[in-house]
């Protein structure tokens, strides 16, 4: 997760949207899961929806060193 360096090649659409797509999928699973059931379904929901939050924090923390 470093900044771009000179000469970095242009990314393809797939590269740009790879991680966002994965996060979108996890969020969607998280949103639906708790609706379907209780107990384990709730837990799945919490974990899935935590991913984008934690990744956001991770990307911002990484550069503070």
């Amino acid at each position: 997760m470093t900044s771009a360096r000179p000469g970095v090649r242009r990314k393809t659409i797939g590269q740009v949207f790879g991680i966002p797509l994965l996060m979108a999928l996890l969020s969607a699973i998280g949103l639906v899961s708790a609706l379907v059931g209780d107990g384990i379904w709730d837990s799945v929901s919490w974990v899935m929806l935590l991913f984008p939050i934690l990744l956001c924090g991770y990307c911002l923390r990484q550069v503070q060193k």
């Binding site: 470093t2 000179p6 242009r10 966002p20 996060m23 969607a28 708790a34 919490w46 939050i53």
Partner: protein, 388 residues
């Protein structure tokens, strides 16, 4: 984008203008929505409630007619619109009362009745509560249906801003790794990175909460359509009947509905003449037992003159869509951890809104367009000399 820069310019235009119009209102919605996620906890903290008697599980409910009578005795000159099984407390029933049966129930008062003894508990004045003020600001800004529909329109713009944001995200990130945060660069670049990162990570959550919010603003209209559609159809042979003056027993009506739907539980009863029923019927709304079906309702119409079941049908798709969109908007369907996650996502959305607003103001100041700004950002990131 491969489709060319003129199409990208259009998307950038959509992103800019949809955001500009809705941002202030979205900030209001995000800020007022934050305490609303925890409205039960806040109410418990700020307001004393008379506790219902603690009873062993499976204690039978009180006679409902008596429960309603003791509730109404505490509210002179009021009539009952709805009797609601408190979703948060199995030991209490909520009686929604208004000055007459045909007034808009949004201003109704709530009377709490003990579910097992049938005695009056209290009649809290909800309108003075902090959560009520937040709720009004959040749903209609104290401007009634027009305010509600206006906020719905802002929600649609918000969804447009998110979708167009996905499109303009691509050129912005062409030369950057995912999650790049250029800490050493000026604030405008840092906040662009923050806006891009937080915005793209929350796309699905923001779209779902945004769009279900829009659907909720249509609730009044959805109910009207249902009234004139399915409800009118189910009660068509009663249309010319005079209103029932001596309604049959409510307890018996609920028991009849329960017999017709043995796998469901009553959620609430709409009294004859209220907006959720006909002039001649108790509308007993049953809900399912699983987390998903508990959100869905099935009305059983009980003839209030004879106590017999007239009809019971599943609600049409548009009411079902409304009922499912409610938990998805409120985040109240996965316990306290989900509420906390909801709050965190709400705060991150506020960050997206504020960084977006800042980026627009700065670009306006420097007179540079979004596209030029993006191009400059990309060029700069390839040019170590410009890195401050």
């Amino acid at each position: 984008m491969a489709s060319g820069s003129s199409s990208l310019r259009k998307w950038a235009w959509v992103h800019k203008w949809s955001s500009i119009v809705c941002t202030i209102f979205m900030l209001l919605l995000c800020i007022t929505g934050l305490p609303l996620i925890f409205h039960e906890e806040i109410d418990d903290l700020l307001h004393e409630q008379v506790k219902a008697a603690a009873v062993p599980e499976r204690t039978p409910l009180a006679d409902l007619d008596r429960a309603v009578a003791s509730g109404l005795a505490a509210a002179p000159k009021q009539v009952a619109h709805f009797l609601i099984w408190d979703p948060d407390d199995a030991n209490s029933l909520l009686l929604s009362v208004g000055p007459s049966i045909d007034v808009n129930p949004t201003d109704n008062r709530i009377i709490r009745v003990d579910a097992h003894t049938g005695t009056f508990l209290d009649a809290p004045d909800l309108t003075r509560r902090f959560t009520y003020i937040m709720l009004k600001l959040h749903t209609d800004m104290f401007a009634g249906l027009p305010g509600k529909l206006f906020l719905g329109l802002m929600g649609i713009l918000f969804c447009a801003a998110i979708v167009s944001g996905i499109v303009v995200y691509a050129p912005s990130m062409r030369k950057l790794n995912f999650g790049a945060y250029r800490r050493e660069r000026p604030r405008i670049v840092r906040w662009l990175d923050l806006h891009n990162l937080a915005g793209i990570l929350l796309v699905v959550w923001m779209l779902v909460v945004g769009f279900t919010g829009v659907i909720n603003t249509w609730a009044d209209l959805v109910i009207k359509v249902w009234q004139f559609g399915q409800l009118a159809e189910m009660t068509s042979q009663y249309a010319d009947r005079p209103p029932v003056t001596q309604p049959t027993s409510l307890t018996a009506a609920v028991a009849t509905a329960q017999q017709a739907q043995p796998d469901m539980k009553p959620a609430f009863v709409a009294f004859p003449g209220s907006i959720f029923s006909s002039k001649s019927h108790y509308g007993v709304f049953m809900r399912g037992n699983t987390p998903l079906t508990a959100k869905l309702l099935k009305p059983a119409l009980i003839d209030a003159a004879t106590g017999k079941l007239t009809d019971t049908r599943n609600l049409p798709w548009y009411v079902t869509a409304l009922l499912i969109s409610q938990p998805l908007h409120f985040g109240d369907y996965g316990g306290m951890p989900l509420k906390i996650i909801w709050a965190a996502l709400d705060v991150i959305t506020i960050v997206v809104l504020i960084t977006g607003l800042y980026l627009w103001l700065r670009r306006r100041q420097s007179g540079s367009s979004v596209e030029r700004m993006l191009a400059a950002t990309q060029a700069a990131s390839n040019d170590p000399v410009l890195t401050s």
